[in-house]
């Protein structure tokens, strides 16, 4: 297990290097000077100044080396259009917001999705199968913004649906976020903590629908496959209770496939959900990437794309390792 872990970790290094390289050259494929792409109306002098400040006037190879040197110092440059803040500062404020929302959505999606899939697989083609699976079908099919508006109309009377904390309440408590994980920042103050929790509820619920549905369908499918195998029939023939067969024998073997799907969904969630963030005014990473892309904000786009790629790499790493933990055959080979 330990050598496997070490091996996987070593593979991470060239992967990350590759990602940064690809992103670096990809954003430069446009052929237009980045400064000109951002400010099509600016005069030559301004363009020259922006290019000089970012080193964009130097040859590509020199830029490439300089970019790694700056990256090592955590310097991702400054956004020019979106906010004029350093990109690292933007990400430090926005990524925690995205992580918090993604984790909350996963916390809803994983248990409910798993349970729905197991219930459906336990009695295929019965009411307990059709019910959850119809809901899951709806879950993957409905556009998120539509669901979000529906949720606001249904629950907006009782639950807040914009932002992460009531701004007036925050002012009255002289509160300002430090880590930008709102649930952590408000820990010492019950009134604020409760308010932050309430703000989290609706967006997390809406965001969880797709992963929940995908997990439910995957759980059902892979469980049904495992349940058709010979050793399950043997277990049943031995007189094991069907619950024990399902939970102990079948589920464990169905888990690697389910873990892959959970991992993938986790990656998508952490990449930021533009629509959900936008409707609930969440101001996470997704909105930032979207705004950077729209205004051709080079530094912002480059920094956040690298971060998102890293997220996927790390999530994949965790999924890989969980395979080994779930399936001894992988550990041995």
């Amino acid at each position: 297990m330990r050598t496997l872990l070490a091996r996987r970790l070593l593979v991470l290094i060239p992967t990350v290097w590759g990602i940064i390289t690809v992103v670096f050259f990809a954003v430069r494929l446009g052929g237009v000077s980045p400064a000109l792409a951002m400010f099509p109306k600016a005069d030559g002098e301004t363009i020259a100044r922006i290019e000089k400040e970012n080193g964009w006037d130097r040859p590509l190879t020199a830029q490439y080396a300089a970019y790694f040197a700056r990256l090592a110092k955590g310097d991702l440059g400054r956004t020019y259009v979106v906010s004029r803040l350093p990109v690292a500062e933007e990400i430090a404020a926005r990524f925690p917001r995205t992580i918090e929302l993604a984790l909350a959505a996963l916390l809803l999606a994983v248990p409910i999705g798993l349970l729905a899939g197991i219930v459906a697989a336990a009695r295929p083609n019965s009411v307990t199968d059709y019910g959850p699976m119809t809901a899951a079908m709806a879950g993957v099919s409905f556009p998120v913004f539509w669901l979000a508006m529906l949720a606001i109309m249904l629950f907006g009377q009782w639950l807040p649906f914009e932002g992460r904390l009531d701004a007036q309440l925050a002012e009255r408590h002289e509160f300002s976020p430090r880590t930008h994980f709102m649930l952590i920042d408000t820990l010492g103050n019950p009134a604020l903590f409760l308010d932050a929790l309430k703000h989290l509820l609706l967006p997390a619920l809406v965001l969880s629908t797709i992963p929940m549905a995908v997990i439910a369908r995957m759980t059902r499918a892979s469980l049904l496959e495992v349940l058709g195998e010979d050793y399950i029939r043997t277990a049943r023939a031995k007189g094991l209770a069907s619950a024990a067969v399902l939970w102990r024998h079948a589920l464990k073997n169905a888990m690697p496939a389910i873990a892959t799907v959970i991992g993938l969904q986790c990656g998508y969630l952490l990449a930021g959900a533009v629509l959900t963030e936008s409707i609930f005014s969440w101001q996470g990473l997704g909105t930032f990437v979207f705004e950077c892309a729209r205004s051709r904000d080079y530094n912002g786009l480059q920094g956040s794309v690298i971060l998102l790629a890293l997220v996927f790499v790390i999530v994949n790493f965790i999924v890989d390792v969980s395979y080994a933990w779930l399936d001894p055959r992988i550990r041995v080979s």
Binding site: P40, E162, I279, Q283
Partner: protein
């Protein structure tokens, strides 16, 4: 297999329900298509078009932006209506859609035959409209605002004279002549003026929307909540970008900036009149070329440094020349308004003398605009790069905090020279989706919002908990016709024909929900010097 069927049936039911809820209305068409008799107005347009002797059907491009603007809430619908209106007189319109920055950059280079564009005033003066649209100085690619590329010596002469004439009656005569001239030449077809809207809840008292659509909270009040603080929160569509007045040109930054700073002279609370600001009084000499400002004494910046003549001089110089600004900014996007300043002198600590190269009656109005805000020189010099995130002015509110992307918080300046504000805290929150923002206002989540979608106006009018404020916006939406185009718009007869074929009433119904004000001049009726030329009025 059965489960698939069941879910498919469900999906159909739900889809049908969704579709039933969003059936669009098609605006009534004034004249039927080909074959039917044309109205006399359209017959005249047709005759004008024929007189140009061009190959028919005439094919023209219409450039249109995808992003709604305050003066153009539904760009797609507007472009489609114009396309169908022009087809009645035999013009085939090809619509070219671009996002806002691309639209601006392409149209300012003159790629279009026709394009949709609009303007909201900076200072409420008629010159701010007509110079923008008709001056050859603004027709220089790649940053042209005169996207008709209209160059006319007579118009240029009228513009210069209008700028140098102080007498209101004499000015009106000059601008009447100009508006008659362009109604005949038709470099652009004025389409619509819109209303400016904002809405607030019951907690906000004594709020008055300034005619220039400025949300000023200096005089407003609100009841104190738990903890005794009077807090007002404002939901708007984007976060501020910077709070450095010499850097910005986005409305959401301006909203906060006008509370943080003062200007030497200011717009009155309820009109476009100029009244004393940081300058107590001023003398004009030298045929309107020399302004001597006598400054208010004892005013302190929020950082405790004193406001004096040197501070005023520094800020005007900074605005004009781009002194101590962040690396990516050369100078204020509004610097062109202050280019006429020849010198700024400070004979003593309480006096500033500004000399202009030529007399300009819009100068005081420009000085009352936000770019001419007076910032603490010490604070700017300390860290020009990041000054926009730690602003220091003399205004009624001080900067308190800024959560990037989320909200800007200002707090009361108890020592304000013009009387301390009633409100303790003013919060500007970022609320991305306009429909959600309206819901949150109705729920009481915000005290005030702007950027209200037309289709939500009724819900706000119907609610007893919120008040809708609307007033004529000082803006115009227009169809610019490229006078230096190559496909027909270079001929005055073609442009006149287009102007006649435009049906504003239909545009208003189809693309403005009937809430627009048809425009017969590029100058809004609320601006002094407005004149609707008969040539334009004829079209309706």
């Amino acid at each position: 297999m059965k489960s698939r069927w069941m879910s498919a049936v469900w999906m159909c039911v739900i889809l049908a329900a969704m579709l039933a809820g969003c059936g669009g209305e098609t605006p009534p068409s004034e004249t039927p298509g080909d074959g039917a008799a044309l109205s006399p107005r359209l017959q005249k347009a047709r005759a004008l078009l024929d007189s140009a002797g061009l190959k028919t059907p005439l094919r023209l491009t219409l450039y249109q932006m995808t992003n709604p603007r305050p003066y153009l809430p539904k760009p797609q619908e507007t472009a489609l209506l114009i396309q169908s209106q022009l087809s009645r007189i035999g013009i085939e319109v090809e619509i070219v859609e671009n996002d806002w920055p691309t639209h601006r950059s392409k149209t300012s280079k003159g790629e279009h035959d026709m394009c949709l564009l609009g303007w909201s005033t900076d200072n409420g003066d008629i010159d701010n409209f007509v110079s923008t649209f008709y001056s050859k100085n603004n027709a220089v690619p790649p940053s042209a605002l005169n996207v008709a590329f209209y160059v006319n010596d007579k118009a240029e002469d009228l513009l210069t004279r209008g700028r140098q004439t102080a007498d209101e009656a004499a000015r009106a005569v000059i601008y009447k002549e100009l508006q008659e001239l362009v109604a005949h030449d038709v470099p652009l077809v004025p389409l619509m003026h819109t209303q400016a809207y904002c809405a607030h809840g019951k907690r906000v008292q004594g709020f008055q929307l300034h005619p220039m659509d400025l949300h000023r909270f200096h005089r407003a009040d609100a009841p104190a909540g738990d903890g005794g603080l009077k807090i007002v929160s404002f939901g708007r569509g984007a976060d501020s970008i910077s709070l450095d007045p010499a850097v910005i040109d986005d409305g959401e930054s301006v909203k906060a900036v006008i509370h943080l700073y003062d200007t030497l002279v200011r717009f009155a609370d309820d009109s476009m009149n100029i009244e004393p600001g940081l300058a107590e009084r001023w003398d004009v000499a030298d045929e309107g070329r020399t302004f001597t400002f006598h400054l208010r004494q004892g005013v302190l910046f929020h950082d405790g440094t004193p406001f004096d003549a040197a501070a005023a001089q520094y800020n005007l110089q900074r605005l004009k020349d781009g002194l101590d600004v962040p690396a990516q900014v050369k100078r204020s996007p509004y610097a062109f308004l202050y280019e006429g300043i020849a010198s700024i002198e400070t004979p003593d600590a309480a006096t500033v003398v500004v000399k202009l190269a030529a007399s300009d009656v819009t100068f005081l109005k420009n000085l009352a605009m936000f770019p001419a805000s007076i910032a603490s020189p010490a604070a700017v010099r300390k860290d020009a790069e990041n000054y926009g995130r730690a602003p220091v002015g003399t205004g009624p509110f001080r900067f308190k905090s800024w959560e990037p992307g989320v909200k800007v918080v200002l707090e009361k300046n108890p020592e304000y020279w013009h009387g301390a504000p009633n409100i303790d805290r003013l919060i500007f929150e970022h609320s991305k989706e306009s429909k959600v923002r309206v819901r949150n206002l109705l729920k009481g989540g915000y005290d005030m919002i702007d950027g209200i979608p037309l289709e939500d106006l009724q819900a706000i009018r119907d609610s007893t908990d919120v008040t809708l404020i609307s007033q004529p916006g000082m803006n115009v939406c227009y169809l610019a016709l490229n006078t230096q185009g190559k496909n027909g718009t270079q001929y005055a007869a073609v442009r006149q024909a287009i102007a006649l074929a435009i049906d504003r009433a239909q545009l208003n119904q189809g693309a403005y929900d009937g809430q627009g004000v048809p425009a017969y001049s590029a100058v809004p009726p609320t601006v002094a010097g407005y004149h609707a030329a008969p040539a334009m009025l004829e079209s309706d």
